[in-house]
Amino acid sequence: MWNYLARRILQMIPIIIGVSIILFLIINLVPGNFIDSKVSSTHMTPQQIQHLKDIYGINDPIYLKYFKWIKGAVHFDFGDSFTYQKPVSTVINTYVWNSFSIALVAFILELLIAIPIGIISATRQYSKTDMIFTFLALIGISFPSFFLGYILIKVFAVNLHILPLAGLNTPGSSYIGFAFIIDRLKHMILPVLVLALISAGSMMRYTRTAVLEIVKQDYIRTARAKGLSEKVVIYKHALRNALIPIVTLIGLSLPGLFSGAIITESIFGIPGIGKIALEAVTKRDYPLLMGFSLFVAVLTLLGNLLSDIFYAIVDPRVKLK
């Protein structure tokens, strides 16, 4: 097990390097540099500008720049964000928890909706219930998140006035204790709903396929043949094995909890990492973007590893070598 872990983590290194090279190349496509855009309004002599550029290493060849950057990145130093004037890792750490709280609630809601419905759908394959749930799941998959978000805002916040428009708290309010929590919850309902509805569809389809796959196996037929009730067959014998692929999927979605939802967060004005990333794009804050993208890439790789480990934990037939 530990051997396996060590090897997997070692294998991640070349991939991270590859990702960082590609990201670095993309970001270096940008014309101009931030010194030029900053000094245009000041009275600096060309020598001073040159000196500044030398300090920041702007005229270095691209591979040198990359090595400098990666050297810092190894020590979690991704440079300073232009807009926040703080280290990128600090900025990410400040905002990621807002995203995480919303994403976590949405994820739990998604599982609560998707897994039972998926099981019901599979046990009654091709029935009317199955058709309706399939239809609803496909609707969820097909909704553009921004459109769903605005429709919910329009209905619940603008027309019905029962939920707040945006943000995480009522601005200017000084709620404390319980009132604060209620206020926060009210603000979280819509974004959580959007995130959960958009992803519940595919999770439900996935559960359905997983259960169907298991229900067709021989040992289920045996269980039925020995006269077990349908409930016991499905919920005791089939479900345990059907959950295996679902658990790996949960492992895969863990990084998504931290990476923020760019579109949903910006629609609802939630100060999370996704919104910050989008603002960084409009402000051309490239160190922050670079740090954020690499952060997400590492999370994705860790998620893959995690899902493999989960797989081995829940399925004793799988041996990690």
């Binding site: 070349p14 991939i15 991270i16 590859g18 990702v19 590609i22 990201l23 993309i26 970001i27 496509l29 940008v30 014309p31 101009g32 091709y126 058709m131 399939t134 239809f135 496909l138 609707i139 998959i141 097909s142 909704f143 553009p144 998140s145 921004f146 459109f147 605005y150 429709i151 329009k154 603008v158 067709k216 990476s259 760019i262 579109i263 910006s266 990333a277 989008l278 794009v281 409009t282 051309r284 973007l289 954020f292 993208s293 997400v296 890439a297 994705t300 790789l301």
Partner: protein, 468 residues
């Protein structure tokens, strides 16, 4: 058989109508960025046709237009052959030719972003204006599509319907006796049982037809702004109202649909091309090549999709890429970032197929590698590719709309369904004028939903385990 007569008439009419748009105006030009197939324009000017109309362009040919013409002729020839020999292959040929002709005319229409004006359209305009002394400039005409183009669209669809009817009747007659079941006919049968999938197929065809051929019938030009007419409510004049610059929303929806749909299809085409090539190579030549290619796949899979797409979108604005060109980049980015999933799928399939007996037989026969991959492995992977590609189109359309919504994809003044939803940014429009942003949102939703229906139906149809 009356249908045969109607078919012949409509096909001949199509060929005739085809000639009408040939007589176009001097400044008739395609807007760059929208030519999917390079158009070659050739012009002969005809001076002083009458006192008021000074220069005409007599011929204006483009490749898709020429192809349309040839295809209609082919359809007529095939139909005549069918009439005398009763060969069902000839009928299939005729149907194929008409379908291709309609598609290539659609391409021609999307090449000319503004409108196709023709000889008769000008004459009509001259008659309307009346005093006999006006000199027409292209800008006068550009807002109107000539009757020639409209007629051609109507007639070609009529002939399409007639030929399809003929084909259906023919197939019915032949299938009375035997029926042979191949995997494909079984899949089609299974697919037809899925009502949602059929509904989806109809919805997709409907939207594509409306978006690609609809603008011909629109009175309003795409880019002409008229601030007095801004933000009108939906009414008889503007069915879906007008946007913040006074442009007709229905017209923009149709043009936007062209872009969104094209982006979806082209991005997925690119995805298939890259994904199957790399996945096929990796699956077939296991070992070092496989290892290297799969590491590449791993790298691309770990690149965070949305952030990178957004960064590239921002870089496009920094590099001052003109709005018309941007859609190419959007297609390219979506295609390039989504191939790894396809590559993995193809590789996995090929790995299992490679071990099967028929491949040993192929080996024993001494077939070349290329032949083994192209003829024996890829065809068996095609069903999974089709399913994954269909669902991929939906994803690509969603991705494009999200990107355009954020202002980083297709840029104004050119519409795409995503950037039309941007109207929500204006709080007043969001609250008071929902006709500005709800229709494009519904369009995105509808087409993606329809695509998902079809993809779902295809998956069931190709999967032998899913039999009822």
């Amino acid at each position: 058989m009356k249908i045969k007569l109607f078919t012949m008439i409509s096909l001949f009419a199509a060929v005739l109508c085809y000639i009408l748009p040939f007589l176009t105006f001097k400044d008739y030009s395609s807007i760059n960025g929208f030519n999917l197939i390079t158009s070659l324009f050739k012009r002969k000017e005809l001076h002083k046709l009458s006192e008021n109309i000074q220069t005409y362009v007599f011929t204006s040919t483009s490749v898709p237009l020429l192809v349309t013409f040839l295809l209609f002729i082919t359809a007529i020839v095939f139909l005549a052959y069918y009439q005398f020999r009763k060969s069902s292959k000839a009928l299939s040929g005729s149907l194929g030719a008409v379908i291709c002709a309609v598609i290539s005319y659609g391409v021609q229409l999307s090449n000319s972003q503004t409108s196709i004006t023709d000889f008769f359209g000008t004459i009509l305009l001259e008659l309307k204006t009346g005093d006999g002394k006006t000199i027409f400039k292209t800008s006068d005409i550009i807002s109107q599509t000539g009757p020639g183009a409209k007629l051609l669209v109507i007639v070609s669809f009529a002939s399409l319907i007639f030929v399809a009817l003929l084909k259906i009747l023919d197939v019915r007659e032949r299938n009375k006796g035997d029926n042979i079941q191949t995997p494909w006919t079984m899949a089609i049968k299974q697919f037809k049982r899925n009502k949602l999938a059929i509904v989806g197929l109809f919805l997709i065809s409907f939207l594509i037809i409306i978006c690609f051929y609809g603008p011909v019938f629109s009175k309003y030009p795409l880019l002409k702004t008229d601030i007095i007419m801004a933000k009108l409510k939906p009414g008889p004049e503007h069915l879906l109202g007008t946007d913040s610059s006074g442009r007709d929303i229905l017209t923009r929806l149709m043009y936007g649909g062209r872009i969104s749909i094209t982006v979806g299809f082209v991005a997925v085409l690119l995805e298939i091309l890259l994904g199957t090539t790399i996945g096929g190579l990796a699956g077939y030549y296991s070992g070092k090549i496989d290892n290297m290619l799969m590491r590449l796949v791993d790298i691309f899979l770990s690149i965070p999709f949305l952030p990178v797409v957004i960064i590239i979108g921002a870089i496009m604005s920094d590099l001052n890429i003109p709005p018309q060109r941007r859609i190419y980049f959007v297609m390219f980015i979506i295609g390039v970032l989504s191939w790894p999933v396809m590559a993995r799928l193809v590789r996995g399939q090929i790995l299992t197929l490679r071990e099967q007996e028929y491949m040993i037989a192929a080996e024993a026969l001494g077939l070349k590698d290329r032949r083994k991959i192209v003829r024996h492995l890829i065809p068996n992977v095609i069903p999974s590719i089709i399913v994954s590609a269909t669902l991929g189109i939906g994803d690509a359309i969603l991705m494009e709309s999200a990107l355009s919504f954020l202002g980083l994809g297709v840029a104004m003044p050119f519409p795409s369904w995503g950037n039309m939803v941007q109207a929500v940014r204006d709080t007043n429009d969001f609250i008071l004028r929902s006709w500005l942003w709800i229709p494009p949102g519904i369009c995105i939703f509808t087409i993606v939903l329809a695509i998902n229906f079809v993809g779902d139906g295809l998956r069931d149809a190709f999967d032998p385990k899913m039999k009822k």
